[in-house]
Amino acid sequence: MRDTLEVQLEGEAKPSGRPRWLTLLGFAAFTFLAAAQAYAVWSSPPDRDMGNLQKIMYVHVPAAWTAFLCFFIVFGASIRYLWTGRDKHDLIAAAAAEVGAVLTALTLLLGSIWGRPTWGVWWTWDARLTSTAVLLVVFVGYLTLRAFTDDPRRRARWSAAIGILGALNVPIVYMSVTWWRTLHQMQSTPRTLSPAYMSGLHLNSLAAFFVVVYLILQRYHTARLERAAEESLDTAVLGFMQVEPLEVSHV
């Protein structure tokens, strides 16, 4: 059985249990995130209108930006999969979609916590909130499709198509505050944000970026292990089906 496994993994780097560098990256990324949050919370002055509630920006905005980044990765990897047919790109897209869905859900929850004291409501059918919710639903659908499709080729093709269509929603979410009249404030850019808050936001976005890189790599690595296990099981089943008639004929 071990020989079968070795053959299955030939041709590509054999996935090991858990690379040490990945553990170190995760530890460093989360430590950086904690330090960046501490710096931003303690160093930023209260906002003229929102007071200290402005500090929620350091978790809400990086979560949204990194979720967008994940969906751009899904978009690029899905196109590459359809172009090359290589499993690697399908697994990268799936890993980024899972991390992106978690971050989008987190963005909505954080926005809701921020919205309650500033707008007076937990939720409103505002263009930005609604388009973000649609983005989440699309990628939950993407992950559900992957979970319920057994054939790897069909799963990869279908999810690549949904991934590309779903990622096209990202520019709509980003521009929704400009295109429609919304309760949500404008995009956080140097033009709309006081310089006093920029360093904290940039530092937290960078830290969130490293956390997301770690999460995607961790998920991708696991997906490779699972794919190798799936293929070794398929090979074993095929081998059993081929051997079985021979044994019968001897009898």
């Binding site: 059985m1 200290n52 978790v59 929850l109 961790q218 099981l233």
Partner: protein
């Protein structure tokens, strides 16, 4: 003063979500590695 519960809740939620997700990924990775080591028979080599 009433704004601090919202601020604390947002940071706690961030760490709970990211921490739980990272833990889930690490345990799923360990589980996948175990399955791969055992092979299709489910027995340790």
């Amino acid at each position: 003063m009433s704004e601090w519960p919202y601020i604390i809740a947002s940071y706690v939620l961030t760490w709970v979500v990211l921490g739980s997700f990272a833990t889930y990924l690490v345990s799923r990775n360990a589980s996948a590695h175990r399955v791969l080591r055992r092979g299709p028979s489910g027995l340790e080599p």
